[in-house]
């Protein structure tokens, strides 16, 4: 299916946008690794791509079905425009060219989970051509070119029970899929995994799917080949399937690179074949050879008229695109003034970025807000997307209130973290917790000076040694803090102690 399938074409090798070639490790020192990915993204439409039953994940087997998605005789597909809209938005976000007119095609093969004996897909006229997926890895920006994005229907699922009995669940049959085909631009397993992450981020930013690899709503096949550095032609590729996590993607490709390098080192030829990743054993295994590859007998789907997309529709979709990860990254590292590291964390999921923006909009300084979001909020959720939950214990405005209390000295940094813990656990506001528990920082000069004098007077021996060892001032700071129950303003305490002890203010 993929246009990068042929191993013979000559294509300039991919380089990161900034900087030189990526680091070479292991077999990469002798061989250049060439990887192209085919990523399938399930689109979260209400109904299926060609019929009316629910496209929801899960459900009792064969409950989300209808005569059309079951391929019953005489039924006909009718295209779901919501799926088309999702594909177009994805294409626009990836900078693809959207065809004003495209067609669906039938791809034939026999399998029990494929109801009609063919999959309705797109062949020579995909909805999107070109474009690129952008991501950052080790501080370098990468742009991996896309061959195409096309729409197709998902298959059902075979469930193999013991004793040689198999069942088929057609709930998934007809769920809309976007297949995103990259050019062979990736040069390492790590890049490949990062590429898939970037695709998932895009899908989630656009809200067109949930991109969950474990549930199969985002799936990835990799075409991997090696060639000697500087060689013009590609080596023979193997297609790797069944990688259902980012870790799997990385490990499977790493394993495949080693496997192919060992074959080439022995002076043998890599066989063109499809291989399955076995995560339990950590190896890829041959599934079918090139000779036994399917002849899909593509031809235009006669039951569906050509799909026409007007300029007006395109303009409307383009205008309605949200701010995308790369745009957000540029804004955060530019006008907002965050470090690339912090910006990278914040843009990884749209929910994080939206949350962060809301904290800043509620009055918190950006850099402080970024620290709080990254170190405190993200540490308390299992899935970053929870930051988008309406019932999150600490909504953005509440965090902004806390950040401001710390900024204006009402709370010390340490107390602030304690207050945040209480806010998260008890769903109470920061000001309320501070007031009820009397946690406001003691910054009152008179009260603090009294305590400081008492502490200094109590330890004349230490006072005597401070002149020779200024670090001992910390001893008094700790003692004062203890006296204030942690509420003393450390900055004010430091100033008073230095004055009392005759030390210069740093």
């Amino acid at each position: 299916m993929s246009a990068n399938a042929s191993g013979e074409r000559e294509v300039p090798s991919h380089k990161p946008i900034a900087g030189g070639a990526g680091p070479s490790q292991g077999p990469g020192q002798k061989y250049e690794v060439v990887i192209g990915l085919e990523v399938h993204v399930q689109l979260a439409t209400r109904s299926k791509i060609f019929s009316w039953s629910s496209a929801a994940f899960g459900g009792e087997p064969n409950t989300n079905t209808d005569p059309v998605c079951l391929g019953l005789p005489g039924t006909l597909p009718v295209l779901n425009r919501a799926a088309v809209e999702s594909a177009i938005r994805l294409g626009l976000a990836a900078g693809c060219t959207i065809r004003p007119r495209c067609r669906f095609a039938r791809k034939h093969f026999f399998y029990a989970d494929l109801p009609k004996g063919f999959q309705i897909s797109q062949f020579d006229e995909p909805i999107c051509d070109g474009g690129a997926i952008q991501f950052r890895l080790h501080g370098e920006a990468h742009a991996v070119r896309l061959t195409r994005i096309h729409l197709e229907e998902d298959t059902g699922k075979n469930i193999h029970a013991p004793a040689g009995v198999s069942f088929v669940d057609y709930n998934r049959a007809g769920v809309p899929l976007c297949e995103i085909v990259s050019e062979p631009d990736l040069r390492s397993a790590e890049e490949a995994a990062e590429y898939v992450r970037a695709v998932r981020a895009l899908v989630r930013y656009l809200g067109i799917g949930d991109g969950n690899m474990e549930e199969g709503s985002l799936r990835c096949d990799a075409n991997v080949s090696l060639r000697l550095h500087g060689a013009a032609a590609y080596g023979t590729k193997a297609e790797i399937k069944n990688m259902n996590s980012f870790k799997n993607v990385r490990e499977a490709i790493e394993h495949e690179i080693k496997r192919q390098a060992a074959i080439l080192d022995r002076g043998e030829r890599v066989a063109q074949e499809t291989r399955l990743w076995d995560p339990a054993r950590g190896v890829t295994q041959s599934m079918r050879s090139k000779e036994s590859a399917h002849d899909y007998r593509y031809f235009p789907e006669p039951d569906l008229p050509p799909l026409v997309v007007t300029e007006a529709e395109l303009a409307a979709f383009r205008a309605a695109l949200p701010e995308l990860p790369t745009e957000r990254f540029a804004r955060y590292t530019g006008p907002v003034g965050l470090s690339p590291q912090d910006a990278g964390v914040l843009v990884a999921d749209r929910e994080i970025a939206v949350y962060f923006d809301a904290v800043v909009a509620a009055g918190a300084p950006a850099k402080r807000a970024a620290n709080w979001v990254i170190n405190e909020v993200l540490g308390r959720v299992d899935d970053p997307r929870r930051l988008g939950d309406a019932d999150l214990p600490v909504p953005p405005a509440a965090l902004a209130e806390l950040v401001k209390l710390v900024e204006d000295g009402t709370l010390s940094g340490k107390l602030g973290k304690d207050v945040f813990g209480k806010m998260w656990g008890e769903r109470r506001g920061a000001a309320e917790i501070v007031a009820v528990e009397g946690l406001a920082q003691v910054s009152d000069g008179g009260a603090l000076e009294e305590i400081c004098r008492r502490v200094v007077d109590a330890s004349p021996d230490v006072v005597a040694r401070v002149q020779g060892n200024p670090k001992l001032i910390g001893f008094f700071v700790g003692a004062v803090m203890k006296e204030t129950g942690g509420k003393g303003n450390p900055k004010a305490i430091n100033e008073i102690l230095r004055r009392l002890l005759g030390q210069p203010t740093p």
């Binding site: 019953l72 005789p73 109801p115």
Partner: protein
Amino acid sequence: MIDVRGVSAVTLADGVRAGKWRAREVTEAYLDRIARHDGGLGCYLLVDADGARRRADAVDATQKAGRDAGPLAGVPLGIKDIFCTRGLETTCASKILRGFIPPYESTVTERLGAAGAVALGKLNMDEFAMGSSTENSAFQPTRNPWSTGHVPGGSSGGSAAAVAASLCAGATGTDTGGSIRQPASLCGVVGVKPTYGRVSRYGVIAFASSLDHPGPFGRTVEDTAALLEVMAGPDPLDATSIPQPVGAYRKATRAGREGLAGVRLGVPAEYFQAGLDAEVEAAVRAAIDELARAGAKIVPVSLPHTKYAIATYYLICTAEASSNLARYDGVRFGHRTAQARSLDELYSKTRGEGFGAEPKRRIMLGAYVLRAGYYEAYYGKALRARRKIADDFSAAFAGCDAIVTPTSPVPAFRAGERVADPLQMYLADVYTVAPDLAGIPALSQPCGLTKGGLPIGLQTIGPALGEEICFRVAGAYESRTDWHTRLPPEATS
């Protein structure tokens, strides 16, 4: 009991709506005729007597309540077994679908039922509509009521024969390469293949998707007009159905009775060449003379790519059939082999046991046509030829309003005569495939009998969405001749 032999559907509907007859009486009359005459003809694969009585009673209840039961109130129809009928076995005359009971109704039969028609049962056909004699049915052959030693044509042979023998007042059919018009011609009834997309294909079991045209059979032109007015129209369940409003076909038929002044009828030389039976040619030429007397201007037209029509048709229809028939795998419905020990065996044995020789032949041809690397040489070239054939018609319609030709080059052939020779069988469609390829409407009506007493058909072809001109021409011819009133001898069981 009412004598319904030779009675038109329109007459029956008018009688039921006027309270002259009850729908139940009409239905009983047809059920009685089926019981007495179908044994020797083999039109029906399934007679749904109980269902028909229920539907007829519902029509009577509606009429009795003072409401109009619809334009087809109480009209008993035969349904080609390619139309899915909810709760009623639908086989496409194939063993592979034996026992298949659809949980949904085709749009066509749904609309006919809503208009008051009473479905009597399912009619025989060539398996998956592949054939021109109804001898490819996996279950039984259908005989021609005019001569039981002859075939009724096909694939809708059960429909044509049942209407001819008054075993239903009208019937549904599908036309992919001539499967409505050719059997209509061979059985002496009227058959209409409308514009592609004019009638929804939802619930019609696919043979060749881009060529399948559902349409009506009737005893008279007006009967088919009345049926088509109900069957036609846009359908949200068929993305290829066309949005334009349905024409006034009955009105157009009646307009034909006033003559054909101002109508230009094209006669293509390519349809009167070698292979055309002399009696058929004489009858069709006489019919054209009659149309001229009705006021039409006869003009010669040329359809130069006609000679490529059969080859083009068989490339496209086999390719699409091989794809459409892939779903019969024994996994979800229909026949499943009892012998499988693996998934591959499940497929090969289920399909080997379930499909007859003609579907197997076409699946193999179609798979060959679509194989990797040969798409352009076969399918791609066929699509270009199809375009040229369609362009021929467009050019011809610049100089005429409709085209008249023979429907079939020969009258009904003897049963068994062409079974062993598929190529000879395929040539039976030589005059009917081109309108299917072009997607334009065409109608066949009786225009004579051979010396041996076999019907001859006249085909009227119109431009896209030109059903009305076809009905007007056919209505004119019918009003000036009496071929449609001739009845075949009563068959005995």
